[in-house]
């Protein structure tokens, strides 16, 4: 008998346990069936994420809030990009499916992060994607860029996250973004998984890449606002 087949020792922390419970409750069959009935898988998934994140963020530290806020800074334009591409209706075949499915996921991530951060959420910027939401090839390239930057950023931040519950949720988003990237690469005719290991991207690098991409019409706040306490008395 393998020692793997008889669980020994303790390998779960209370915080992770809570996160698991929270997340898994939203994925119970009853819950899924209810939400699927309302509006398809996309709606169910959105609900799942949105339900999972807010309670997590209540326990978040300032540091975690800043990390989630920059994740939101990346999710806003990603959601806007895929949504605009779907609305434009210029894409076809698997590429159109990517726009629809990934767009639904990114919108779910935005909603979840907004709810998690509440009043502390950064504001959405203004974006100009040019013809990247109409031209099939440009769309694919930009879509891949969005996904890889998210994968790299979350990966780079993961060891810096204070709360285990926030970490579990962040990684749940991280692997979905990696699935997206793989899918897009396959649609482009590239090897879906090009490396044995995925390197992280520092926040500085993510910021630089984001700015140089030229999608920003108006610069949003890139990091959580750090205001000095106001003297009101």
């Amino acid at each position: 008998m393998s020692d793997e087949l008889t669980i020994e020792g303790i390998d779960e922390s209370a915080t992770v346990a809570e996160a698991h419970d929270l997340v898994m409750r939203t994925h119970t069959r009853g819950g899924l069936l209810r939400t699927v009935a309302l509006g398809g898988a996309g709606a169910a998934l959105g609900t799942g994420v949105a339900a999972a994140l807010p309670s997590v963020a209540r326990a978040a530290t300032k540091n975690d809030i800043a990390i989630l806020n920059f994740a939101l800074t990346l999710e806003y334009p990603a959601a806007a990009f895929f949504t605009e591409a779907e609305r434009n209706g210029a894409l076809s075949g698997d590429t159109a499916t990517v726009a629809r499915v990934v767009g639904a996921h990114e919108r779910a991530h935005v909603r979840a992060l907004q709810q998690a951060l509440g009043k502390q959420a950064v504001k959405k910027g203004n974006y100009n994607f040019g013809d990247a939401t109409e031209n099939q090839q440009k769309f694919q390239q930009s879509a891949l860029w969005f996904e890889n930057i998210s994968v790299g950023y979350i990966k780079g931040q993961a060891p810096l996250i204070d709360s285990a519950a926030v970490l579990v949720v962040a990684l749940g988003l991280h692997s979905v973004e990696a699935r997206h990237a793989s899918w897009i690469r396959r649609v482009m005719g590239l090897v879906p998984a090009p490396h044995a290991f995925d390197a992280p991207i520092s926040k500085q690098s993510a910021v630089a890449q984001f700015r140089s991409r030229g999608f920003l019409a108006v610069e949003p706040q890139m990091v959580a606002r750090r205001t000095s306490p106001k003297v009101t008395g």
């Binding site: 087949l5 008889t6 669980i7 799942g48 749940g172 692997s175 979905v176 793989s182």
Partner: protein, 220 residues
Amino acid sequence: VSDSVTVEVVDADAALAEAQAVEASEPRQAFLRRAVIGGGAVVAGGILVGGLPRLTASAAPSAQQDVRILNFAALLEYLQAAFFTEAVAKGALSGETLHFAQVVGKHERAHVNLFEKTLGSKIRKKPTFDFADTTADPARFRSTAVLLEDLAVAAYDGQAALLTKPTLMVAAQIVSVESRHAAWARAMVGKEPAPRAYDPPATRAQVTAVVQRSGFVTSA
């Protein structure tokens, strides 16, 4: 091993007992087919979610815990590496399926190498495996690949928060590659590569139950 008995241990036993009961009444091929029909739902559907253990234990990350978790992950990496390597060696695959097996096999072997280097003498004994005809039949190979890759994603996501930060940094570089593999495998069998907006984690007990039910591990 531990100074406190946890609910999880009890529940893990229950999960394994349930797994054995099901296994006794269900041939392995039937389980694999059923598991595979769910695809990612192996994790989010009946098998894992249905048996979600109550988790109440507490264990702060430590070097010792890292070794236990990495050895658990090493079992999955050994399993995957052996599966893809055998599938390529058997010569029944062609086209994109063969390319997939070659590329993913190379990655999984690289992951095994990393674990062997990282754990050194503390690494578990390399298990032996019996993949039956899942490495000889292209359709069964593909659906088993979906199962193994989705399972690895959920396993890593479930253990990450229990690791020390330096080890987490390494694990995070692997989990997204497993996610890319999973999406690729799913696309090949006509399933949505990213079926959910959020990948739910699996506990060690849940992953172990699936590995046991697969019957792939014949010795530890």
